[in-house]
Symmetry: C2
Subunit: 344 residues, 2 copies
């Protein structure tokens, strides 16, 4: 095991960034100067997003492997760029590292970040590395690009637009419940082997989410440009309210159309939790939520992995879900929110 | 006093970013979507830099006012963009906020960030806000731009180039020593009034540094493009070694030419510290260190606030300082480095 303190900041950065290859022609200079240097095509706009992940707020190293954490920390940023209908190109990575980490730990974390960059064709171009007296801190900023007329904001939804989601919902949240349950069960027991049999999908959704580049590509191929879009990091309900508030619309979604995986349903039953609540309010799915004009109905039905779950209404009708027994329930933004007391 | 938890993340972001005005035409969309959107002039390259500041590693809230902290956190990023000979245009701000902070505290911090943006003409376009169980975390990313042929890297210094620094060195470090001394003296005493008389400059240099936009503008006006440049955040000695290593050169600087303020000298004497060591290795001056061709000697001498302190040599001669009594001392990168044990 190697002590980070023996390397110092610059030694550590050199070690972590050695052999970094750039794959994007927009990357002119990466790590090693006061700033990274990029150049984007004149017809493209530049997109910037950033995420801060703090130990014991956003992740628990008891059950999150460092390589997975690095992968996820990068991917959630890519997801934000795809949610603008853009392409992620570069990231900067800032780390605050507490003294209980060895060089090997940090290399594991970086291996995950670098793998995510490789898979999504993104260049690591800079960052900052520091000691932390307070546990692991990860701050990633992602820069992307898109032709101006392709960018999709949150505020473009119009009444009669169809509301679509990719993949399925609630699985990452159920994965978190499962991991927390096994953590409690394992407390103090050295021989404990967590039991994830038949629930591998939930664990994977929590620990190693993917950004839906594939959906963006399929929509483009199908000739569909969403009118509004965002990624689902805080729960469907909360995100849908964002789109409706910013678009000055209401919405109706149908309970029986919300895509939920079988493993998610089984787990909800095991935990005696309301399945639809988990799908509406469980965070970290990183699926795409978007609206398309009604005229794209036929086209969007053919796009693999996309589900039409409802439609946009006039603002005065509010945001509601139609239940299986035809009742209307007002949607609330109860998404995962570490700043609220009740969720601590 | 208002509880942040009653607002939640989105309420807090709304509150902090209300009435934000954008002054740069390159800013198309700021806070409020998955990513900020910018567009830069086709002939300009895009510069990106990022800094992570952690409580009790990079700042001590016992004596750092939150507004100053916010100002400094933004300015140190602007300084990195100026050090590329670029212009800062946008920042994103991510905050991890521990529960001992009230809304008013966070607004103070933000007031400092927004003031810095106003002074330097930079737009606040995004960020992330989260609870922290670990003290205050501030991660700022700055995006800037520059025409490609104006960008100055660290690796362009050539033998016979003159080595220049702006302003004076060591004052921020002495300010830190002073603040630490008064903190110790005040421990447990409620009626304690710190004594900064005659040392106001040192305190200001530590608490409210400025980025040297003025120097960049003066060099431009004087028709000088540095061959290499960086800002001095970790100490002159360490930064000079960076430039020489990356430029594959050596250097000679003269002890008696290192610009030091009178207050810095008085404070060093009071603390019985070596003044030149403080100027060489004390961090956080945020002055500019740059090299210019020998042919610009006349021109650079006329630039207000710039001092020629030595020259670049062939690599094999190494990096050294010529002392007042004509001895050669090898320069070492002993800059401020929170990842090294001995400085904790």
């Amino acid at each position: 095991m190697s002590e980070i303190s023996s390397l110092g900041e610059f030694g550590l950065i050199d070690r972590l960034t050695e052999n970094i290859q750039h794959v994007n022609p927009s990357t002119l200079r990466g790590v090693g100067d006061d700033a990274a240097v990029m150049h984007y095509e004149p017809h493209n706009d530049v997109l910037v997003t950033t995420d801060l992940l703090l130990e014991n707020v956003h992740f628990d190293l008891t059950y999150v492997p460092l390589k997975h954490l690095g992968y996820k920390a990068a991917v959630v940023n890519f997801s934000d760029i795809y949610a603008m209908n853009g392409t992620p190109r570069q990231i900067t990575v800032s780390l605050g590292i507490s003294s209980r980490f060895t060089l090997e730990h940090v290399e594991e974390l970086y291996a995950g970040i670098r793998l995510a960059c490789e898979v999504y064709g993104v260049d690591l171009v800079g960052g900052d590395t520091s000691a932390s007296h307070q546990g692991l801190v990860i701050s990633i900023t992602c820069i992307g690009e898109a032709p101006r007329d392709r960018i999709v904001y949150r505020d473009g939804a119009k009444p009669t637009d169809l509301i679509c989601v990719s993949g399925d919902l609630g699985a990452a949240y159920m994965g978190l419940q499962l991991l927390e349950r096994e953590k409690v069960a394992s407390a103090g027991r050295k021989d404990f082997v967590p039991d994830f049999a038949g629930k591998e999908y939930l664990v994977e959704r929590q620990l190693k989410p993917e950004a839906r580049r594939d959906i963006i590509e399929r929509l483009d191929k199908a000739g569909i440009k969403p009118t509004a879009m965002m990624d689902i990091s805080d729960g469907l309900s909360s995100e849908l309210i964002h789109i409706c508030t910013q678009s000055k619309t209401g919405c109706r979604i149908y309970e029986d159309r919300i895509p939920i995986d079988y493993q998610t349903a089984v787990m909800a039953e095991e935990l005696n939790m309301n399945l639809v609540t988990a799908a509406l309010n469980g965070g970290e799915d990183y699926e795409l939520l978007f609206t398309v004009p009604l005229t794209d109905h036929e086209k969007v039905l053919k796009v693999e992995g996309v589900h039409v779950i409802g439609y946009i209404t006039e603002e005065k009708l509010g945001c509601a879900m139609i239940t299986r027994d035809d009742a209307e329930i007002t949607l609330k933004a109860q998404g995962w929110n570490p700043l609220r007391d009740e969720q601590k």
